[in-house]
């Protein structure tokens, strides 16, 4: 989980693209009436190289000898929420192909980008309530600045998958958490019997802008199975009897494609960015190329 220096530097150059929502400007209600003239001071943030020096609060600098940038309301920093699916099904795949590791890496990368850009980072490890209670805090942040990265990465590393996914509920619970809405990344395999649509709607309803990173391992896309089998769901324990032959495998592959197509259609309709990734893809490529292509990073 340790990112090497070179990668971290690369990450820093990326900035998160947030096209729509800024803090305070939520669709529909509470539209700010302020039109540029009386700009209210909202918050400080650490100075990062490249920031506009006119925004530097010299008084604070003088007092504290540390540069801080004044943020106006409309310039309030982006809240980035990294929601990682923590259900049992995520702990699938061997070694580098493990979905959870991959997801946490992605979450780490995204978090690193956000922290570098001065964004306000929150993260949550979505699990069933029972599981959550048994674990350490599954919500992280909000935190800001590169200094928080280490703690963030530690948080990520401490997460363990378990329990049954109920994405809708987890997302709903998160949306009700009273946080500042922002850009929410859902990193999940979307193996949720109840679906995910309702949860996404809730989040969006709260003003979140959503991106779904759909993580699957190669053997979930093209299972290396054959013969007469009883499939046991590691998450739910349900069994399914199949007699696998070439034909059925083809059907499965086609089903996966169709499923992802369905998700993509839904996401497009609801302004959710969608990126399907495979765990056998190098994660840098996911961040540096695939996400750029999907306009999630710039």
């Amino acid at each position: 989980m340790i990112f090497d220096e070179k990668t971290l530097r690369k990450l820093h150059r990326l900035t998160l693209v947030a096209t729509q929502v800024r803090a305070g400007m939520i669709k529909g209600e509470r539209r700010s009436t302020k039109r540029g003239t009386s700009v209210e001071f909202a918050d400080y943030r650490d100075y990062a190289p490249g920031d506009d020096l006119r925004r530097l609060d010299w008084n604070v600098y003088a007092r504290l000898e540390r540069p801080f940038i004044k943020l106006m309301e409309e310039e309030e920093d982006l809240a980035v929420h990294l929601l990682v699916d923590g259900s049992r099904s995520m702990d699938w795949g061997a070694g580098e192909l493990n979905k959870l590791s991959f997801a946490l890496r992605l979450a780490g990368a995204l978090g690193s980008i956000g922290l570098s850009a001065g964004d306000r980072l929150s993260a949550a490890f979505l699990q069933a309530p029972g599981e959550a209670a048994a674990r350490a805090a599954t919500v992280y942040g909000p935190s800001r600045g590169p200094a928080a990265l280490t703690r963030y990465l530690e948080y990520l590393q401490a997460q363990r998958a378990g329990g049954i996914t109920d994405l809708n509920r987890s997302l709903r619970d998160y949306s009700l958490g009273g946080r500042r809405a922002g850009l929410a990344f859902l990193i999940s395999d979307l193996f949720a019997p109840g679906g995910y649509e309702e949860g996404c709607r809730r989040l969006q309803g709260r003003g979140y802008e959503m991106a779904i990173i759909h993580v699957l391992s190669p053997d979930e896309i093209d299972p290396p199975l054959a013969g007469d089998l009883r499939l046991v769901d590691v998450e739910t324990g349900e069994t399914q009897e199949v007699s696998l032959d070439g034909g059925l495998r083809d059907l499965y592959r086609q089903r996966v494609e169709a499923w992802q197509a369905e998700i993509e259609t839904y996401c497009r309709k609801h302004n959710i960015r969608y990126l399907p990734v495979r765990t056998d893809t190098p994660w840098e490529r996911v961040i540096l190329q695939d996400m750029r292509k999907a306009s999630i990073v710039r």
């Binding site: 199975l225 089998l229 034909g247």
Partner: protein
């Protein structure tokens, strides 16, 4: 088809556990997956194609059951019985005797036998050779050590049955020769295809393995077993006998024809195994051809029995024609004994040579049938048959001295001495004759021959080397009988002797009148055989067909015909009951039992079929697309377009 090891079919019970296994839930391997969500989706999609799935599973079950069935049937060793023959030299003896013409095996027993022989040809291994012999009246080799099936087929097509008894001795000799001539070291197999009409005794053993293939089914047969016409009083009398060789009564109608005119028709019902004799008296005394025919009581269209060759018979009645006999006697007043007996003989017109004034006798130029020289023998003997009584020197034989020891008379049975009681004859003295090569002694005494006869120089000669006055012969009852026999011998009423009819294959010597230039014999099948008579006459041997033969004599000025009949008066052939076994040498050969017949097994074909089905099953199980999957892809592709 039959199964050689039918118990192996019990292996078919293995089908039960196979089916049970398919019906029970299959043991499935448990495999963990991250989520069964997608699998459930897939299987829901697939529900629409459930029939294909079931079909596929049933297809595998069906294929496996098929393989099991093929293996089980193969283990049971199914086989088609073929009269297969051991490889090597095969000799087929087909019975060609008259009884093989019976129609109880369609179309005839002989055809059935040929068909059996054809089956043997079919079952031949490529390195075998077959010899085909038809055992008829004169056995024939149709094919010799032949391995080409086509040639054997042609040979069999040319086989024909005869109408007479088979010469099994000759046929066996041919078979032995063929067996011995085969490839060294190979045991020959001899197959006799017959209705079993082989003689019980007397046949030599055959080398190699002998098999008997029987043909024929029934023994029911009604036959005319005798037909003859003889002179009776001033006319003639017909005698016929009908035998029932079968085990059931066969009511029939017996009809008699004289020169093809119906003279008598009566119902006849001979009990099985018995015979009935019929006599028709009061027939006219002239020449006629008589025919007797048996028909079914139901009418002409119905067959009487399965064997028709013995349902007809012919006999030719030829009363003795007038024979011109010239008597040249040395005695002054003639020989009253000879003259009287000749005058009283029917069918003989005697003439006496007249002595000239100088005492010499001039033999008339006209031909006579018989010249009787009594006591005197001319230097030049005339053409014609001769009776020499008390002859002098003559070119035909030598005589030296006389003998008086005339006791102990021995009479040799012959047509000349038949019915003549000569044993008590007394002869005072007789000339001692050197019996010539051509002569056969017929009456012998201790001192020498008293009567001999034979053929020489194209004529028949009979010699009594004693003076009739020196014996009591003219006073015996035997004298006219002997004289009649001598006349019959020397000048037969017919040019040939076929009074009682011939058996098929019997040869006939025809001694026509010297004036005859050509003899043409017409057989019942319209074949004509002609020849110019030689010194011994004409030897006619093509008497294989049953029926009436016409002998046409053609001379310079005229032609006339005589007739003879060939009949099958042969109980051995008329008894058509098929034999259960035949005797060859000392062994009795019974027809092959089932396991002695060859069996052509075809389990290798079943094994091959099973292998093919196994490959199909493997393909079905392992191929990447099932029928259902293929259909889906095609449908989807179609939808995309």
């Amino acid at each position: 088809m039959n199964l050689l090891t039918p118990l192996s079919l019990l292996f078919g019970l293995l089908a039960v556990p196979i089916v049970v296994m398919y019906m029970l839930k299959l043991r499935r391997k448990e495999v963990e997956v991250s989520s069964s969500l997608l699998w459930q989706m897939v299987l829901r999609d697939r529900q629409a194609n459930a029939p294909w799935q079931r079909l596929r599973r049933n297809l595998l079950l069906f294929l496996q059951l098929t393989i099991l069935a093929l293996v089980v049937v193969g283990l049971a060793r199914p086989a088609i019985p073929t009269p297969s023959v051991a490889a090597g030299a095969v000799i087929v003896l087909i019975d060609g005797s008259a009884s093989m013409n019976a129609t109880d095996a369609a179309p005839t027993r002989f055809e059935a036998a040929v068909a059996a022989a054809r089956r043997l040809v079919e079952a031949m291994t490529p390195d075998s050779q077959m010899t085909v012999i038809v055992a008829g009246t004169r056995p024939q080799v149709l094919a010799s050590a032949e391995s080409e099936r086509a040639a054997l087929g042609e040979a069999l097509s040319s086989a024909r049955a005869d109408q007479g008894p088979a010469d099994w001795q000759a046929a066996f000799a041919l078979a032995s020769g063929a067996a011995a001539g085969g490839t060294a070291g190979q045991d020959a197999t001899i197959v006799i295809i017959s209705d079993g009409g082989l003689p019980d005794e007397g046949l030599p053993p055959l080398p190699g393995e002998v098999r008997y293939v029987p043909v024929g089914e029934t023994g029911e047969n009604l036959a005319i077993s005798a037909l003859a016409v003889r002179a009776a009083g001033s006319g003639a009398e017909l005698f016929a006998r009908v035998d029932n060789y079968g085990g059931a009564a066969i009511p029939a109608i017996l009809s008699f024809y004289a020169d093809e005119t119906l003279i008598r028709s009566q119902e006849i019902d001979v009990p099985p195994g018995e015979s009935e004799s019929i006599v028709l008296p009061g027939l006219p005394g002239g020449e006629a051809v008589y025919r007797a025919s048996l028909e079914a009581a139901g009418g002409r269209d119905e067959p009487l029995d399965a064997f028709g060759l013995d349902d007809h018979a012919f006999t030719v009645y030829q009363p003795a024609g007038d024979r011109r006999v010239l008597l040249i006697t040395a005695a002054e007043g003639g020989n009253i004994f000879l003259e009287q007996v000749l005058a009283a003989m029917p069918g003989v017109t005697p003439y006496r040579a007249v002595r000239g004034a100088d005492g010499s006798v001039t033999i008339p130029e006209d031909p006579f049938d018989v010249y009787i020289f009594d006591g005197e023998t001319p230097a030049e003997l005339p053409e014609g048959d001769l009776l020499l009584i008390n002859p002098g020197d003559n070119p035909l034989f030598a005589a030296s001295g006389v003998f008086t020891d005339t006791g102990g008379i021995r009479v040799v049975d012959s047509p000349i001495t038949r019915f003549a009681e000569l044993a008590d004859m007394q002869v005072r003295q007789a000339k001692r004759v050197d019996l010539p090569d051509w002569g056969a002694a017929l009456v012998e005494a201790e001192g020498g021959v008293l009567l001999f006869a034979g053929e020489t120089g194209g004529r028949r000669v009979a010699v009594m080397p004693f003076d009739l006055h020196d014996s009591d012969l003219p006073l015996l009852y035997a004298f006219p009988v002997l004289m009649a026999n001598l006349m019959e011998y020397l000048a037969p009423a017919q040019a040939f002797e076929a009074g009682a009819g011939l058996q098929p294959g019997d040869p006939l010597v025809i001694r026509p009148d010297p004036a005859v230039r050509e003899v043409a014999v017409a057989a019942p099948d319209q074949q004509v055989y002609s020849a110019a008579p030689g010194e011994q006459g004409v030897l006619f041997s093509d008497t294989g067909i049953l029926g009436l033969y016409a002998v046409n004599y053609i001379s310079a000025e005229t032609q006339w015909a005589e007739y003879f009949a060939v009949n099958l008066f042969n109980p051995g052939e008329s008894d058509i009951e098929p034999a259960a076994e035949v005797k060859v040498g000392r062994a009795a050969i019974a027809p092959g039992t089932e396991d002695r017949l060859g069996q052509r097994e075809f389990w290798p074909w079943l094994a091959l079929a099973g292998l093919i089905v196994l490959v199909i099953e493997w393909l079905v199980y392992h191929r990447r697309q099932t029928i259902g999957g293929l259909v889906e892809r095609l449908a989807r592709r179609g939808a995309e377009r």
